[in-house]
Structure formats: structure tokens, C-alpha cells
């Protein structure tokens, strides 16, 4: 059923709003940006054909405000809404409200989103579709636990069914520890959550996180666009993503793609989505479906030469997905975040005082940053994504290391040097990937002493002589190059 679209409202901010606006324009749509009081001067606002204020800085009152966003769509005459990622992107009630307002939601249908959003329900759909999940049973009974452990093999993970965030979790290495661990976990679960139910499941010691990109249309076609390896994570936040997954056999890839397609068909999935799996050895286990565009989608776009946002728009307009081209080469993405890797990654804010954006073949920088842009504390700290393509992984990696060498950002503390060191490391080069990569190799990262020396030299040159500096400031000279310190140094020397 063809459904011509004319105007798209982008219910998001930052780099993803800008990225969606670019594709929507290419697709022939007028674009509407929405913005909070903290984002009046943001790049996505000026990039769109029109922009509508939707509320105060607090996300709950603006980017998460369903009524306000739908009112903006009505007012602007938008006939479609793209939610981006984060914010309202996976809220079934938002998709429902959009649809109730006779506006096309660029994403899966609300009931599909609701079913996949519930982890227990999603696991049930996976099991019914024959997709492997992490083997486990719900029991606090020692006999059943022992039998399961013998079948699945040690180590075993014991966790509270009601738990989260690692509380009440225990890794059991051998049979002798099982009974005391089970008793302690039951006690803890009851005390901490008022719910003594216990899950006993296979413990994956060094899993990789590998996900399959899927696209489905309302005519029942579902395709997969390969995989992304997102094993490099810090506190469950992805930092580096790549495709193809290094060392993944064609046979495993084919099996995982088949599983993702089965799952998507079983859920009657439409639009772009991602099936996430944990992989250990020759086994893979379904984790969850992200029913939206992922942050790391450019990695897939670079290899398949496609535009996933355009595909989403085509599907939303009632179009069909077509068979994908064969993927080529390799692509790696790193996330540049406003955080301080030298001080426990605490969030950073500030005004961008200088920005150098890398260039060259195969280099893509998706970002909403510009000189003068404000990074506020209101939203997540993603400043941009640097993605490099290469004929093979080494070329992509080399380009990314070089591109990060060209990157410079003053005014907002960020993790660019940290990700550069990871990507340049021999552990990353050798693809020693697991979700424990950071803990294993980068838990005690420090900037190189040579770079700190260079920074001190640069600061000394920029600072110049303090007395001259004070004089310059008193004279109110506002048009000074940052290296005027050097000139003042010359003055200083001639004075001696």
C-alpha cells in the first residue's frame, strides 16, 4: 500500500537528528526539527526546513513529551515522525500515539515494539522461533540446579530473577560450591528484592557481542544486512563497533543471520531493527531486539553502501525492501563522548572552542558539533561518531587511527585520545575481542608521557610571560592569536 510522505518530523536531537534530516532531504521530504530550550542553537535546528520548540531543557518535558511532539507534528503538517534512537524510540505508547494521530511512525508497529521490549516475552518469542537463548532454568531447588549444571557445564551463573545491575549474582566454578551459593543467593534475593526466585544459567566467561541488522517491510519481506561486532564496551556502553566481526566463520554468520530472520518473521517485524547475540566459541545466544535504528548503524552503511534511514523511510511509505548488495571491505566506528577518561569517565560539559574534523578517503564523521556549540548536562554525552571504511580491517583501522590523529576538540573534555589508544593497540589489532576487553587491557589507561610533555610545552608557549600577559589583558586586546604568548615571550626576552 503506497503511502506518499511529504514532511518528516524528527523527534530527536544531536547527531542522529542531523543524520536523519540529511537522508529525509535526499528522500524528497521537507523536515521539521523539534528542540528544547537547551538546544535553541543546536545544529539540527538550523539544518531542518522548520523547527518547533517543544519545552524546557529537561528531557521529560521536551524530547520525552509525547503530547508536545505530536502537537508540533500537527502544527507543522508533518505526515511522518522518525524517533531516532534513545528518547521515545522504543516506547510503544509513543508509536501508538503517533499512529492514533494519523501520522506515520518510522519504525515497527506498536504491538511489535511492546512484545520485543519485554525481555521475558522477547525470550519466549526467540525460543518459540527456535533461536538459541542462554541456557537456564528458574529454580532454587538444589537437585534441579545440580542437574542443570551437570548438563550445561560449569561455570554457572546464579542470579535473582527480580534482580538487576549485578546484585545477587554469583559465578559458581564447580559442583562443590553450588549448594552454598544457591542458598546465599536465595537469601539475598529475598532480602534485597522481596522475591526469592532464582535463575540458574550458563555463565559465559568471555562472550563477544555480535548483532545482526535487519530490515522488514509490511509485505512480509525481511532481509539481514550482515553483522556488527560491538564487544568493546565500558560499563555496558558500546565504544567501538565494527563489521564484519573479526574471525566469525561464514557458517556461524549464516546461522546467526538465519536466527535473526526467523525472529523477525516470528515477530512480524517492520523497519530497521537489530537482533543482539552473545557469542562464545561455536555457540550464540539471543540477547534482545533493539526495535529502532542503532547508534552504530553507519558501520553497516559503509560496508553495504546503503542508507538505512532512506530504507526506513521507503518502508514507512509502504515500499518494499530489496535484496542487499554484497558487503565489501571493513568498517570500524568509535564514539566520541563528553567524558574525562583520566578521571573515571566523569561527564563533561562546555563550549566548543576549537574543532578539527578529520577527512580523507573512507572517513565519515557524524556529529552535531561546531565551534561555539554548547554541550549541556541535560542529555547523553555523545559528541559524534567517527567511522572509517577500508578494503580490509587493517586499512579501516589504520584510517581510523590517522583520523583520530587529525581530530582535535577544545572546550569539552572527551575520550578521543582514549579510543585512539584502544584502536591503535595490538590487542585491538589482533582482535582479542570480548565484552571484557576494556577490563582486561584498558582498565589502567593513561595518556603517554610524551603527549603530556607536548601539552606542557604548548601551554608554556601559549601562556608566555605572566607579566606581559597581564599587561595585554589590561590593554583590552581582544584580537589575539592563541600563540600571542610566544610573541609576548619575545617581548619579554628583548626586555632582559
Amino acid at each position: 500500500m503506497a503511502r506518499p510522505l511529504t514532511k518528516l518530523l524528527v523527534a530527536n536531537r544531536g547527531e542522529i537528528a542531523l543524520r536523519i534530516i540529511r537522508s529525509a532531504r535526499l528522500f524528497g521530504l521537507k523536515t521539521v526539527a523539534v528542540y528544547s530550550e537547551a538546544d535553541t542553537q543546536s545544529m539540527h535546528v538550523s539544518a531542518a526546513d522548520e523547527a518547533i520548540a517543544i519545552g524546557p531543557a529537561e528531557a521529560a518535558m521536551s524530547y520525552l513529551n509525547i503530547a508536545s511532539i505530536i502537537a508540533a507534528a500537527k502544527r507543522s503538517g508533518a505526515d511522518a515522525i522518525h524517533p531516532g534512537y534513545g528518547f521515545l524510540s522504543e516506547r510503544a505508547e509513543f508509536a501508538q500515539a503517533v499512529s492514533d494521530a494519523q501520522i506515520v511512525f518510522v519504525g515497527p508497529r506498536p504491538e511489535v515494539m511492546a512484545a520485543l521490549g519485554d525481555k521475558v516475552a522477547a525470550r519466549r518469542i526467540a525460543v518459540a522461533a527456535g533461536v538459541p537463548v542462554v541456557p537456564g532454568i528458574e529454580t532454587a531447588e538444589i537437585g534441579a540446579a545440580r542437574e542443570f549444571a551437570a548438563r550445561a557445564g560449569y561455570p554457572i551463573l546464579i542470579k535473582a530473577a527480580a534482580g538487576g545491575g549485578g546484585r545477587g549474582m554469583r559465578v559458581v566454578a564447580e559442583a562443590a560450591q553450588l549448594e552454598p551459593a544457591l542458598e546465599a543467593a536465595t537469601r539475598e534475593a529475598a532480602a534485597a528484592f522481596g522475591d526469592g526466585r532464582i535463575f540458574v544459567e550458563k555463565y559465559l566467561a568471555r562472550p563477544r557481542h555480535i548483532e545482526i541488522q535487519i530490515l522488514g517491510d509490511e509485505h512480509g519481506n525481511v532481509i539481514a544486512l550482515g553483522e556488527r561486532d560491538c564487544s568493546i564496551q565500558r560499563r555496558h556502553q558500546k565504544i567501538i563497533e565494527e563489521s564484519p566481526a573479526p574471525g566469525l566463520s561464514d557458517e556461524m554468520r549464516a546461522k546467526m543471520i538465519e536466527a535473526a530472520l526467523k525472529l523477525a518473521r516470528a515477530a512480524h517485524y517492520t523497519s530497521a531493527g537489530t537482533a543482539e547475540f552473545l557469542v562464545e566459541g561455536d555457540n550464540f545466544y539471543f540477547l534482545e531486539v533493539n526495535a529502532r535504528l542503532q547508534v552504530e548503524h553507519p558501520v553497516t552503511e559503509m560496508r553495504f553502501g546503503c542508507d538505512l534511514v532512506c530504507e526506513q523511510l521507503r518502508i514507512a511509505a509502504g515500499g518494499k525492501v530489496s535484496a542487499p548488495a554484497d558487503p565489501r571491505g571493513a568498517a570500524i566506528e568509535c564514539r566520541i563522548n563528553a567524558e574525562d577518561p583520566e578521571h573515571d569517565f566523569r561527564p563533561a560539559t562546555g563550549t566548543v572552542l576549537h574543532l578539527s574534523v578529520p577527512g580523507g578517503p573512507g572517513v565519515r564523521f557524524d556529529s552535531h558539533l561546531a565551534r561555539g556549540a554548547e554541550v549541556t548536562p541535560w542529555y547523553d554525552g555523545l559528541l559524534g561518531k567517527l567511522i572509517c571504511y577500508g578494503a580490509n580491517r587493517e586499512q579501516a583501522r589504520g584510517r581510523l587511527v590517522n583520523a583520530l590523529g587529525e581530530f582535535a576538540l577544545l572546550g569539552v573534555t572527551n575520550n578521543a585520545a582514549y579510543v585512539r589508544d584502544i584502536i591503535a593497540s595490538e590487542q585491538f589489532r589482533d582482535a582479542k575481542l570480548s565484552t571484557h576487553f576494556i577490563d582486561e587491557f584498558f582498565s589502567t589507561w593513561k595518556l603517554s608521557a610524551a603527549e603530556i610533555d607536548a601539552a606542557i610545552v604548548a601551554a608554556a608557549i601559549a601562556a608566555g610571560d605572566p607579566q606581559v600577559e597581564a599587561t595585554l589583558q589590561r590593554s583590552g586586546n581582544k584580537h589575539r592569536s592563541p600563540w600571542d604568548g610566544l610573541n609576548s615571550f619575545e617581548l619579554w626576552r628583548s626586555r632582559r
Binding site: T413, R420, D453, A454, I456, A458, A460
Partner: protein, 176 residues
């Protein structure tokens, strides 16, 4: 001159010894470095030290000198500025908000004695919680915020005074 890196209490003693064309000789502590510096038209420059090339940029922000060396960025303050916030035996006399945000928890009260590294306040910004801790042993002179209050970048959250038994150490070790 003496510089201090933001978030650090260690003073860096640095001096430009001489400059001959692009060659700048610099002393850092008791080490001497020769650097070749060429400014660029874009406000940045190229620094060469020991044959390694570093693209650098610099900017001012209040009393800070911001510097980037490739993708790494740095904030320095002249030590005189940093030391205004420093009292004998204390790494800092004030705990300030490192970013605008909301005070989630206040973990101490006026008059409390705290150890280096002891959490004082939990602040929420950018959907993340950050704990502000004492950098040295101290006594809480005054808690200046309440739970639930929003604060601006640099706002004084807690004032500290030296612990009563302080022997007046020149610089306390930094917890972290």
C-alpha cells in the same frame, strides 16, 4: 611559571629558556626539552619534539589555558590561581560542581571529619551519577547545597577546613 592540570594538584614548574627561530628550549621541572614550533594560519600549530610531530591548538577559558595535542585535550591553570583555592594541609578548601547538575545526595554534615577519598556529595548530570570526594583529610566547614537542588558549573558545594589534628602538610595526596 607554575602550571597545574585541571583535576590535579601537582604543580608543574615550566620555563621557556630560549627561542631561536622555530626552536624553543623549555625546562619542565629539572628536564630540558628542545621543541620546534611552527604556528599555522588556522590558529593552531605544529610542535616537533624528539622527531615526533604533534598538531596542537590552544584557547583561553577564564583563567585556564586549554591545549590539544592531537586528539588529547588538556586544561592548565597558572599555579597562583590554583593555589588561591588551596590552604595549608588541604588539597582544596572548596568542593565545586564539576558540571551543572542536580544534587542527588549529601553524604556529610557541617563539622564532620572526612578522610581523603571519602564521598561527600553525589551529583547527577548527563544521566550519570558522579561522586565528589574529599581530596585530602579535612573537616566539613559548611555544606552549601541541599538534596534536590540544581547547581551550575563551578558552584561551591562544600567548604572544607583543615582537620583539627592537621600537622600542616604542604600537599595532601590526591585520592583517585
Amino acid at each position: 611559571m607554575k602550571l597545574v592540570r585541571a583535576g590535579d594538584s601537582h604543580e608543574i614548574d615550566v620555563e621557556v629558556i630560549s627561542r631561536d627561530g622555530a626552536i624553543v628550549r623549555i625546562r619542565i621541572g629539572n628536564r630540558e626539552l628542545a621543541a620546534e614550533f611552527s604556528p599555522n594560519t588556522d590558529g593552531g600549530g605544529l610542535l616537533v619534539i624528539d622527531g615526533r610531530r604533534y598538531p596542537i591548538f590552544s584557547a583561553r577559558r577564564k583563567d585556564s589555558i586549554l591545549v590539544s595535542v592531537g586528539p588529547a585535550s588538556f586544561e592548565f591553570k597558572p599555579a597562583e590561581v590554583a593555589s588561591r583555592r588551596r590552604a595549608r594541609g588541604l588539597a582544596a578548601t572548596e568542593i565545586t560542581a564539576p558540571m551543572p547538575g542536580k544534587i542527588l545526595k549529601v553524604l556529610v554534615r557541617d563539622g564532620d571529619l572526612v578522610e581523603a577519598g571519602q564521598p561527600l556529595v553525589v551529583i547527577e548530570a548527563m544521566k550519570m551519577e558522579t561522586t565528589l570526594a574529599a581530596e585530602s583529610a579535612a573537616m566539613v566547614k559548611q555544606v552549601r547545597v541541599e538534596e534536590g537542588q540544581t547547581v551550575d558549573h563551578g558552584a561551591v558545594v562544600i567548604e572544607l577546613s583543615p582537620p583539627p589534628a592537621s600537622s600542616g602538610r604542604e600537599s595532601a595526596p590526591r585520592a583517585e
